[in-house]
């Protein structure tokens, strides 16, 4: 599926100043793209807990969903986000955050993607989101 791709984790990140700014990491594990966000002080949105910024968590999730779509579709045209809905379940603590993406529906025009982010274990999500993307 992912052989002869024009896309590599490096190219994906190379295109996105925002992803680099927040410090997002991509890795290929068993030929699947894995997303992580190592802790950076500049991602703090609540200096009293401390906790990651909720908006940043949303941004990381949206970026992960976009990259996941680019990867599985072997496309370099960025899908356009139509809407993005996020439920915050736990504080994102001052440590690494991981994202899992799955495509619920991959239609001709629209893809529906679910994203879950977690720290301690995948069954304790920090936030879950679903998004619609307009495909080219």
């Amino acid at each position: 599926m992912s052989l002869n791709l024009p896309l590599s984790p490096e190219t994906l990140l190379g295109h996105s100043p925002y992803a680099r700014q927040i410090g997002m990491k991509l890795a290929l594990v068993d030929n699947e793209l894995r997303f992580s966000l190592p802790f950076h002080e500049h991602n703090i949105g609540n200096d009293q807990l401390p906790a990651l910024h909720g908006g940043l968590i949303g941004g990381f999730m949206e970026m992960a969903a976009i990259m996941h779509l680019l990867w599985i579709r072997e496309s370099s045209t960025i899908p356009r986000t139509v809407d993005f809905s996020i439920d915050y379940l736990r504080p994102g603590l001052a440590r690494e955050l991981f994202a899992d993406c799955s495509v619920t529906k991959h239609g001709q025009q629209i893809a529906n993607v679910q994203v879950s982010v977690w720290q301690e274990s995948p069954d304790k999500p920090v936030a879950v989101a679903r998004a619609h993307f307009l495909l080219d």
């Binding site: 295109h15 927040i22 910024h53 909720g54 949303g58 941004g59 996020i86």
Partner: protein, 159 residues
């Protein structure tokens, strides 16, 4: 929308506005507080190349708009509060109406349209000067934190 009144507790509101702009992640975005009145708040996000989602288009990443909307929505709640209280975000939905035009700042005005005993409901518009069509709409709910360990802390923007 009723006629504008001043925020309920100006000192608290200004503290929170300043706090929301000085958070590490807000400083990365260079978020600025613009104004507030009872039930409403406005913030501004200057255009910055390092916040672009796809360098080929120059359009700001959606995540930046999410942060702007989250912060401004939280701030609108504090325009209605007499006393400090924690209000973490429960959920947030963003509808992207059009890509933000590159090299132009994005404003966000948020309104807390229902202040319940435990839940605050907000709606927000992200827009750019000179463009009639907004960039995004955001609807969110926030939960009033019942108790804190130690001092009541003005937790606003994050879960």
């Amino acid at each position: 929308m009723s006629l504008p009144l001043p925020v309920k507790n100006l000192e608290l509101f200004n503290d929170i506005a300043q706090w929301l702009c000085q958070l590490p992640h807000s400083r990365i975005l260079q978020l600025e507080f613009i104004q507030g009145e009872r039930g409403r708040a406005t913030m501004r996000l200057p255009y910055q190349e390092r916040l672009v989602g796809d360098s080929r288009s120059g359009v700001l990443h959606g995540g930046v708009i999410t942060t702007l909307i989250d912060n401004t929505s939280a701030l609108s709640i504090f325009s209605l509060l007499e006393e400090p209280c924690g209000y973490p975000t429960l959920d947030l939905r963003i509808d992207y109406l059009r890509p933000a035009t590159p090299c132009v700042a994005v404003y966000c005005t948020a309104e807390c349209y229902r202040m319940g005993r435990e839940i605050a409901f907000t709606r927000a518009t992200a827009y750019q000067e000179g463009h009639a069509q907004p960039v995004a709409y955001g609807v969110a709910t926030f939960m009033r934190r019942r108790s804190f360990k130690g001092e009541p802390a003005p937790l606003g923007a994050s879960a």
